[in-house]
């Protein structure tokens, strides 16, 4: 198996070719831009949070396969979650990608994210995988600051 096969596994390619929750929300409770200045990845995250729950999430991304797939998986997993749950999942994913000392285990309902674990072998691309998640953290913070009218 070549490194390419490893990095561009089926799950990643599936999300890259058919990104979930792609698009915009007309009246979001939070809208955040995420940029990786070094590689030019750009994304806009739209959130609709009501009563502490993510009722809708949409993304428009202009980026590489890792960035697009990571954002797509994230949106699928966090839709319908409470803000607290979402924060925990983001935290867990970031630890999985960044922790160099131990392998962070993922619960069964997050197993899709396993596909991104292979990206850890390519340090320069970890930031591509993290961009949607860091943008989400900012979005969740903003959504709580300005609750929907």
């Amino acid at each position: 198996m070549s490194l390419s096969d490893d990095l561009y596994r089926e799950t990643i390619l599936d999300h890259y070719h058919n990104p979930r929750n792609h698009g915009a929300i007309e009246h979001p409770t939070a809208q955040v831009e995420g940029v990786n200045p070094l590689c030019g990845d750009e994304l806009t995250l739209y959130l609709s949070v009501k009563d502490g729950k993510i009722e809708d999430v949409k993304l428009t991304a202009k980026g590489c396969s890792i960035n697009t797939a990571s954002g797509s998986m994230m949106s699928e997993l966090l839709l319908g979650k409470s803000v607290d749950e979402a924060n925990e999942i983001v935290d867990l994913f970031k630890r999985m990608m960044l922790d160099k000392t131990e392998e962070v285990e993922l619960p069964e309902d997050l197993e899709d994210l396993e596909a991104l674990r292979g990206v850890k072998k390519y340090p320069v691309r970890i930031k591509c995988a993290l961009l949607p998640w860091n943008t989400m953290l900012e979005g969740l913070g903003n959504a709580l600051k300005s609750p929907a009218p």
């Binding site: 590689c39 030019g40 590489c64």
Partner: protein, 414 residues
């Protein structure tokens, strides 16, 4: 066929026998930095093991040997770019420092509010940001010569934009994105007719195209040794004697003075006025070997080889239906730098798939963010050639791009 014996040349570069995961390295990132022949690497070891000493004023054997070796490179550089005097050759840390030196030292002495600084739309950040800062500090205006659709300078516009308000024209000799070779003599004549000076960013040009500062009538020329077989950390600033003499020092400290009292100092003669502190002695000496190596090959032969391989690559890569190649289509108008995109695949994905095939290409904005915006792309992949690259390597690149297109291409535009 060009007169370069590429097979023999390859044997002079130890790194070219490197394998990555069992695959032979294919190095196509020469516009970022070139590889180094053994003579250059050996020169560093010889200096550190045989005659390491600080230069100038040492009254001992090692210091004399080191000073001789360092200063003799000035003559090697002078001859290589056909300058009139060795004192017109200033050693810097790179092209960036050389341009900053001019922007700061010449710029602050010559640019007044309302003056115009003429650049092109395809400058590397290193020939853009120093002028942005100068323009902001001096309330001057930046003016950009636009490019035509195939990445050449719009010379009709250049004639209009270079005016009596122009104080300096700062242009690349060869675009690090399009590979476009710019008409330096024509631009120099336009600048001089208006009483302006011309600075040429030769970082991409000098390593690949025979350059005579006197024939081209260049006022300032900046280039980097690491892109032309030399070590990192050495750049050259060429400047005409009168201009350099009229400029205040850039950095100050040791080496660049004649007499110093507690309250003031007088500056050393050229070129030392601009070489404050202990310079990069070892790398300057090794740079001399790099220039000797290129001169022995002959810059006309280097250029001929690059036209051949660039033409071959332009034709071969075009066979891939989904490819967009930027810059002139005629290999004689450009250097061996080819920026491209395959379908709508992100440049980093292309770079990754090439890397997995042990092929080194660059991916990103190439320090040309404004140009990327003009082209309406996030970035591009870029292959760039030098004296040791072969058609077989271009074929391997082609195969890797075919693979990238198969795995990641054909995504609906989002």
């Amino acid at each position: 066929m060009s007169k370069l014996n590429v097979e023999k040349i390859r044997k002079d570069f130890p790194i070219l026998s490197r394998k990555i995961d069992g695959k032979q390295l294919v190095y196509l990132d020469n516009a970022a930095t070139s590889q180094k022949p053994k003579v250059v690497i050996d020169a560093l070891t010889e200096y550190y093991q045989g005659y390491n000493a600080n230069i100038h004023r040492g009254i001992h054997t090692l210091a004399e040997e080191a000073t001789d070796a360092y200063e003799s490179v000035r003559e090697t550089v002078r001859a290589f770019i056909d300058a009139g005097h060795t004192h017109e050759i200033i050693f810097t840390s790179g092209t960036t420092e050389a341009i900053n030196l001019v922007a700061h030292s010449w710029g602050n002495a010559n640019i007044l509010p309302g003056d115009e600084i003429v650049l092109t739309a395809m400058e590397h950040h290193s020939n853009l940001i120093p002028w942005q800062r100068l323009a902001a500090e001096r309330s001057a205006k930046l003016v950009f010569i636009p490019i035509t659709e195939d990445g050449q300078l719009d010379m009709a516009e250049a004639k209009k934009l270079i005016s009596d308000k122009t104080k300096i024209v700062a242009v690349t000799q060869m675009s690090n994105v399009f590979g476009t070779i710019t008409p330096i003599k024509e631009l120099a004549d336009l600048a001089h007719a208006r009483g302006a000076v011309i600075l040429v960013d030769g970082a991409q040009g000098v390593p690949h195209v025979k350059t005579s500062v006197r024939e081209l009538d260049i006022d300032f020329l900046a280039f980097s040794m690491h892109k032309m077989l030399g070590p990192t950390g050495v750049g050259i600033l060429y400047g005409k004697t009168d201009l350099l003499n009229a400029m205040p020092p850039f950095q100050s400290g040791g080496h660049m003075i004649t007499t110093v009292t507690r309250d003031k100092a007088t500056w050393a003669e050229l070129p030392w006025k601009f070489e404050a502190g202990t310079r990069n002695i070892a790398d300057v000496i090794a740079s001399g070997k790099a220039i000797e190596y290129l001169s022995a090959l002959g810059m006309d032969n280097v250029r001929e080889h690059e036209i051949e391989i660039t033409k071959y690559a332009l034709d071969k890569l075009s066979e891939l239906g989904d490819i967009t190649i930027f810059g002139p289509k005629d290999a004689t108008l450009r250097g061996g730098v080819i920026a491209f995109n395959v379908d709508a695949i992100h440049a980093h994905d292309i770079g990754q798939i090439c890397a997995d095939a042990a092929i080194a290409v660059r991916a990103g904005h190439h320090c040309c963010q404004p140009l990327m915006r003009d082209l309406n792309v996030m970035g591009t992949a870029r292959a760039s050639f030098y004296i040791y690259n072969t058609r077989e390597e271009v074929d391997l690149l082609f195969e890797a791009l075919k693979e990238a297109d198969k795995v990641l291409g054909h995504v609906a535009v989002r």
